[in-house]
Amino acid sequence: MTRWTRLRENSLLLLPSVILTVALGIYPLIWVLRYMFYDYPGYGEETFVGLENFRRLLRDTAFWESVRNTFVFAGGKLLITVPLSLVLAVILNGRLRGRHFLRAVFFMPTVVSTAVIAVVFYLIFNSYNGMVNQLLMKYHLIGSPFEWLGPKHAMLTVILAAAWGAVGNYMLLFLAGLQSIPHDLYEAAAIDGAGPMQRFWRITVPMLGPVMQIIIMLAIIASLKGYESIMVMTEGGPIGKTEVMYLYLYKLLFPVATSGAPADQQFGYGSAVGFTTAVIVGIITAAYYWMSRKMNKVF
């Protein structure tokens, strides 16, 4: 194959990816980097404001509260999702009757659309006549209605809902990773007398290392970025208690529809906020990657 043909082939194969990535992935980033120094309501004039947006960001308590909420949300969601999906994957990886059925069961929440989830979880968790409260009161587990979606506990409910929708997803990813561990290793260990727990800790976990590192990283990014389910469930929660960074940002650009009066879309400030959130997520991801580099080595 001549060098020229090779070059042409390479370019052809790579071109779609490059074009799409640059046009729809990189260009928007450059757009944001420019507009974060402007004040632009989405139409008409854009005014150069220099660092004013960032000064505003520093005094924007609502934003920093949303950052805190994001950490709480992501932490809670990960704490439930990762161990649970790993355990489920391990259990359903082995020979178990009905494992295909169970896998489908656990995968189901991920296929239901968020708008529906919001409505259903409202019907389940609302404090006035929600399903959960009714059941809890019927069996005398609580005395008066528990405010699942009230200011104090909305975050918990939202975390539960998010974990519910995510476990199936990560379970699948872990399954795929587990399936790449050769069975012979397990058999040899069993012959050597290793019990199931020992097999798990000495074979599964180390072999899964690199895969698990990536999956957890994806999970971290996803939980920091996730806002759609929160948006449809609580719209940021009673008095902003469940407002996470990306939802706060979304609302700057698409103000929640109220009766008639359109609020200005704040693209300039929104870009500044977007930039800051990306930096925060980037720092956390990098920190995680650095801290987990041990996982990359297979024992």
Partner: protein
């Protein structure tokens, strides 16, 4: 093996189902008499599909609205227009259930703007500002000028001396209350002052709590929407502008607003508000009211229609004027969304056709029928005088009376940080110092106002001689 079969089977079923039902639903769309078939979101062609394809002089214009409650009536009018008009004009209706303003923004920015739009008091000025609307001065006849004359107000439907829309109907706001629950609590009349409202709510809750009934509720999931349908008319009847704007000084002053919020907070702290109201959306709230679980709330004249069709109810309910701060009616209850109805897009390629449609819709017969069927309270004097009252239970309470009037328009600005709805609701739930909240809101809103004035987006004019008690006379 069986799984594969199941998978294929399901796919086949879905494919067949899609094909079959696809055909039937298309036929359903074409027939104009099919009720609610292409309801909330379809861009239904109101006339039969085939005529769309024909070329020639046919002008196809699109009309966008976010009114859902009257869409069947509007559709019937459009069908009539399409059938009867001799200028070969065809109108397509699109009903947007939410995100109306954003959709309009996107449509105009991508050159897919509708030709005729539904305009409301809150978004007309913004649309004019953004250059979306075309002035209709050239089209309006003298007859029309006399019919609508007194209602053509600057800042409402007239901007910079140019007219952009004409009024049709408005919405009155009232206190909606459950007579049965009032009786049960031993209260004879709906509250006239806010203090009475707080006390009444407490009594109703005490009497009805065992059955899950509470004194008060609102759709606090969206605090601004909740306040804009309640505090707005409480304030206007008490003599203050309902959105926190002081017409005398042309600045924002949320002090009276804060006073009303304090009473709401009292009800919240008393436990008189339906539990979970902070997550309550407007329709679940109506469902609870229809089920007899709520003593009172405040809202627009859309409620009777809702309880007739969507949430049929057996409770005895009625509507009364909102309570006031002091128990006296110093001002008037604001009729909202009263200055505009339809407008023409500046980008329309069929402005003449659009006007013909608009003029058609503004016929006396249609405006009268609109009022009589309870879609809105007519504000046009010649219509309101002659029209019969709508035959919907509960509508009597909402009819325009001596205490209702239109108020001057207030500027709408986007402040930095939380809007007044969120800020005051946060205060309601977590407490604090209402004066601090008021001061902070005033600062931020007036700051945004100053910036908007500087940019030329809004114009303000202090009116020191403004007297709320003189409105409506």
């Amino acid at each position: 093996m069986w799984k594969k079969g199941l998978g294929l089977g399901l796919t086949a079923a879905l494919a067949i189902g899609t094909a079959a039902c696809g055909n039937s639903s298309n036929n359903g769309d074409a027939s104009a008499s099919a009720p609610a078939s292409s309801a909330a979101t379809s861009s239904s062609t109101a006339s039969a599909a085939p005529s769309k394809a024909s070329s020639g002089d046919k002008a196809v214009i699109t009309y966008w609205t976010d009114d859902r409650h009257d869409q069947e009536y509007i559709k019937s009018l459009i069908d009539k227009f399409n059938a009867e008009n001799k200028d070969n004009i065809e109108v397509e209706l699109t009903v947007l259930s939410e995100n109306y303003n954003q959709s309009v923004d996107i449509a105009f920015s991508s050159n897919k703007a509708p030709d005729v739009l539904r305009l409301k008091s809150a978004n007309t000025e913004t649309f004019v500002k953004k250059g979306y609307l075309a002035p209709i001065d050239a089209y309006v006849t003298d007859d029309m000028k006399s019919k609508f004359g007194s209602l053509l107000l600057d800042g409402v439907n007239t901007f910079d001396g140019k007219l952009y829309s004409l009024p049709n109907s408005g919405q009155t706001l009232r206190l909606v209350y459950n007579k049965d629950l009032f009786d049960k609590a031993g209260i004879a009349n709906p509250p006239q002052s806010l203090q009475e409202m707080v006390d009444d709510a407490k009594k109703i809750t005490a009497a009805g709590k065992s059955e899950g009934a509470y004194g008060f509720a609102l759709n606090f999931k969206n605090p601004k929407s909740a306040f804009d349908r309640s505090i707005r008319e409480i304030l206007s009847l008490s003599g203050y502008q309902g959105l926190g704007y002081d017409l005398k000084t042309a600045q924002f002053d949320f002090k009276p607003y804060g006073q009303v919020v304090d009473y709401f907070k009292q009800m919240w702290d008393d436990g008189s508000v339906l539990p979970g109201a902070e997550t309550l959306d407007i329709d679940p709230m109506r469902a609870q009211f229809a089920a007899g679980k709520i003593g009172m709330y405040l809202s627009f004249a859309t409620e009777p229609g809702v309880y007739k069709d969507q949430f049929p109810t057996t409770i005895n309910w009625s509507a009364a004027l909102a309570p006031t701060l002091e128990g006296k009616q110093v001002g008037t209850s604001e009729i909202v969304s009263a200055g505009t109805w339809l407008g023409i897009s500046d980008r329309s390629k069929h402005k003449d056709a659009a006007w013909k449609f608009m003029a058609y819709m503004y016929q006396d017969d249609f405006l009268t029928a609109y009022h009589e069927q309870g879609f809105g309270i007519s504000v046009v004097p010649s219509i309101a005088e002659k029209a019969k009252n709508p035959d919907i239970p509960g509508m009597e309470g909402f009819l325009v009376g001596e205490h209702d009037s239109i108020w001057p328009v207030s500027p709408s600005v986007t402040p930095e940080g939380a809007n007044y709805g969120d800020a005051f609701f946060k205060y309601m739930l977590s407490g604090g110092d209402v004066n601090k909240v008021v001061t902070d809101l005033n600062a931020r809103y007036n700051d945004a106002l100053a910036k908007a004035v500087e940019k030329g987006d809004v114009k303000i004019q202090p009116n020191p001689s403004f007297d709320p008690s003189k409105l409506g006379s």
